[in-house]
């Protein structure tokens, strides 16, 4: 998994490529922890995300909770398979999917 980070003033866009699984999730969590400061708009671009495990979902949930306190969070370019997972797990109810 690779994370591409792009910051534009208070807006942080993270493009995630590959599999966001148990092994990769801590890395994303780490990146996020370092980047929250001053971010008012967090965008996850999941166009190139192949797979997301429950550990990955946890990181997204954690990010959503953090951003609920300091701004907004949006998930864009969600593929069919990932969207299915979001639906199954009920994440579609809590995430702002655009």
């Amino acid at each position: 998994m690779t994370i591409e980070s792009k910051k534009d003033a208070g807006k942080l866009t993270l493009t995630i490529t590959g599999r966001l699984d148990t092994v990769a999730a801590p890395k994303l969590e780490e990146t996020l922890k370092e980047s929250y400061d001053g971010v008012t708009e967090l965008v996850f671009d999941l166009a190139k995300l192949e797979y997301i495990s429950s550990a990955g979902l946890r990181v997204l949930l954690s990010a959503q909770k953090t951003m609920n306190k300091q701004g907004s969070m949006k998930v864009i370019n969600v593929g069919e398979e990932i969207m299915e997972i979001f639906e199954i797990t009920g994440f579609t109810d809590i995430l702002n999917i655009g």
Partner: protein, 717 residues
């Protein structure tokens, strides 16, 4: 490396030894080269010097000999010629005196009386006397000239007595008589006492003087009476232009002959050659000149050997210098001195080899000295060669021993070290510095490094051991946790042996030691079976703990009789109270009415259940989803119902099944899942789960399993 005779072949020891040997061999090669060069050069120098010295000796001694011979031989020869010529000169003078006396007497023969004369008187033998001889048929008593000639008797006797050379003289008369003076009167008679016919006018001296018309010397001739070798000198006496008499004397040359012969004993020779180029005297066996009788004698001036002929011609005219003449391949020193009176020449000659004998002797002496010296030189050289060879051998042996010693000193600590390192194993890990390693060179540094390395290794191993022990402890605890986790799940099948209305089977295969999946089923009352399928986010011990809590909570709330949605809401509320880690769990919870087959269920973010109707196929049941438990507090869950027909089956699973991944990163997916179930749709739950497991395993192949594989199947009978 092979060990032989305590030497490690191919080892450092041998290499050092090789180095030493190569160095020594190179040294020896250089040394031998220099030695050989010196010997060769020295030999050449000695040889050259010797040959130069020899040449020099030959030249100097040859020159010296030449000078000496030139000096002595020339002088001696000239002197001999002079002495010999003096003899001839004396005789010539004597004969000339007689000629003049006779001429005077015959001119005035009329003015004085005849002088008495007589035949030889044997009684007077031994003393000089004048004796008359005559030709047969001549009456000497009537000779008118004898009386005149007899006047000369006293003079002639006195002359013979005085002369050193003459022992006779005579006057032959034209009338066939002769008056001769000698001391051998007895010899004149033959054995019968008769006087032999003395052919005066046919004698060679008479004929010679008559035809010469002046003083004349004969060739060599033997004396009529004595047979002694001699020559005759004669001179004609004329009166009124008419030959009246011939005066003469015999000159015996035996003294000269003796001298000539005696000269040969000293290595050199003397020869006398007359005015006609004929050899008169020469010692026998001289190799060049042979004395022949007057008639047979050859003229040497016309000899085939031009060199010799030229030399003799020259020598007859004047004194020659020391001349080298080649005769029959042999070289001779020759000196010729003319005898002016007779026109002869005295030639002294000597074999050049003989004159060179001293030089040759000296040279051979010198050579033998040189050879001795060379022998001694060679001996000494050989001796030194032997000494050098012995030295080389000793050097080689000492070098080898020294090389071995040095090599040993280097190799021993290394060997010791190697042995010690080989021994290191198990608990015996310490490599300690030893006195044998304190060589002060790289070996000591190496040993020091080993010692340090050994210390570090030991401490590292201790550390590793500690860490490993820790890990093992954790591993053991995890294993224990896994077992506890597994034990937490109902795993004894059939779980309700007395219930024949349904058949239930479930498995959990954790990806790691402790997984986050769990299933559960329990009888809430006699007619209600609670079924749980859940998946905790994350893995390992945290997930396991979270799973325990979730399982207990769901079970507790379910047993308390709440509806599935209520149970999930209560569980969510409880978990969200203390969930700083933001972990969550997806839960499908359903309650089966065993009698009616009606299932009331709620889904908190879990996979869709799969349902098979009686005699139907397995199909995905897309139920209503709520959010995961633990994600957000205060979540509400929707409940739904469906009926499990008799002979129908409900299949529950976690994402570990649907999302099993193969090496090509392909997901197993719901399609394959359904295919696996529908391969044998009527099989009992156990068999269904086995088929699914088999199908997943085949799909995944060697790819590592990421997620727990948890399944539950229930069939209503």
């Amino acid at each position: 490396m092979i060990k032989k005779f305590g030497l490690t072949l191919g080892g450092l020891q041998q290499k050092i030894l090789n180095l030493v040997l190569i160095f020594m061999l190179a040294l020896m090669a250089v040394f031998s080269g220099v030695w050989f060069y010196q010997q060769t050069t020295l030999g050449t120098v000695v040889g050259d010097a010797s040959s130069e010295q020899q040449k020099s000796i030959e030249k100097v001694s040859g020159d010296t000999m030449h000078q000496v011979i030139d000096g002595s031989m020339t002088k001696t020869n000239a002197l001999q010629a002079y002495i010999a010529d003096d003899m001839f000169s004396d005789v010539k003078t004597d004969v000339a005196t007689l000629q003049s006396l006779a001429t005077g007497l015959f001119e005035h023969m009329d003015s004085f009386e005849a002088h008495p004369f007589e035949l030889p008187d044997p009684a007077k033998d031994g003393q000089f006397s004048a004796q008359v001889l005559y030709e047969e048929g001549v009456d000497y008593t009537k000779s008118e000239y004898l009386g005149v000639a007899a006047h000369m008797s006293e003079t002639m006797i006195a002359m013979c007595k005085q002369s050193d050379y003459l022992d006779n003289c005579f006057i032959g008369l034209a009338d066939g008589t002769i008056l001769c003076v000698d001391d051998k009167s007895a010899n004149k008679y033959d054995e019968n006492g008769n006087l032999p016919n003395f052919l005066v006018r046919e004698r060679p001296w008479y004929v010679g003087a008559e035809s010469a018309g002046e003083l004349w010397f004969s060739g060599i001739d033997a004396d009529t009476y004595t047979d002694k070798i001699g020559i005759e000198c004669a001179a004609p006496v004329y009166k009124d232009g008419k030959l009246i008499a011939v005066v003469g004397a015999d000159l015996f040359l035996d003294a000269m002959g003796d001298y000539v012969n005696s000269a040969s004993s000293q290595g050199g020779y003397i020869a006398v050659i007359n005015n006609e180029g004929k050899v008169i005297f020469a010692p026998e066996g001289n190799g060049i000149f042979t004395v022949e009788t007057s008639d047979n004698a050859k003229d040497i001036r016309k000899d085939e050997n031009k060199e010799l002929a030229g030399f003799v011609s020259k020598a007859l005219n004047k004194q020659t210098g020391l001349t080298t003449v080649n005769i029959n391949g042999k070289e001779y020193y020759m000196v010729g001195s003319p005898m002016n009176t007779v026109g002869w020449t005295v030639i002294s000659f000597v074999d050049k080899n003989i004159t060179e004998q001293p030089a040759q002797l000296m040279i051979s002496e010198f050579q033998s000295i040189n050879e001795d010296a060379a022998d001694k030189f060679n001996d000494s050289m050989n001796h030194s060669k032997q000494t050098i060879f012995i030295m080389i051998a000793v050097l080689l042996i000492l070098g080898s021993i020294g090389g071995l010693f040095v090599a040993n000193r280097i190799v021993k600590p290394v060997e010791h070290m190697t042995k010690r390192i080989h021994e290191i194993s198990g608990t015996d890990l310490a490599f300690e510095m030893d006195d044998i390693y304190r060589t002060g060179d790289e070996i000591e540094v190496l040993a020091q490094s080993f010692a340090t390395l050994s210390k570090r290794t030991i401490s590292y191993i201790e550390q590793i051991t500690k860490i490993t022990a820790e890990k093992e402890r954790i591993g053991a605890e995890l294993e224990l946790a896994t077992r506890i986790q597994a034990d937490m799940l109902p795993n004894i099948f059939p779980p309700f042996p007395d219930r024949s209305e349904f058949d239930i089977y479930a498995t959990m295969t954790p990806a790691k030691e402790v997984g986050g999946d769990f299933y559960d089923f329990f009888l809430i009352d006699d007619n209600h079976l609670g079924m749980v399928m859940a998946d905790v986010s994350g893995k390992g011990v945290p997930a396991a703990l979270f799973m325990m809590m979730s399982k207990i909570l769901v079970n507790n709330f379910a047993m308390m009789g709440g509806s599935p949605a209520k149970v999930l809401e209560q569980t969510n509320a409880q978990i969200c109270k203390n969930n700083d880690e933001e972990m969550f769990v997806t839960v499908w919870f359903g309650v089966l009415d065993i009698e009616t087959g009606k299932v009331t269920a709620a889904n908190a973010g879990h996979e869709y259940p799969i349902i098979k109707k009686a005699n139907g196929e397995f199909e995905l049941f897309k139920d209503k989803h709520g959010f995961v438990i633990g994600g957000m507090s205060g979540m509400k869950y929707k409940e739904y119902e469906f009926t499990l027909e008799k002979g129908g089956t409900l299949f529950l699973y976690t994402d570990g099944v649907a999302e099993a991944t193969n090496a090509e990163n392909q997901l197993f997916g719901t399609e394959r899942m359904l295919a696996a179930l529908n391969a044998e749709p009527e099989a009992d739950p156990k068999k269904l789960l086995e088929n699914m497991k088999k199908s997943v395993d085949e799909f995944v192949g060697d790819a590592p399993q990421f997620d727990d594989l948890t399944m539950l199947g229930v069939t209503l009978l």
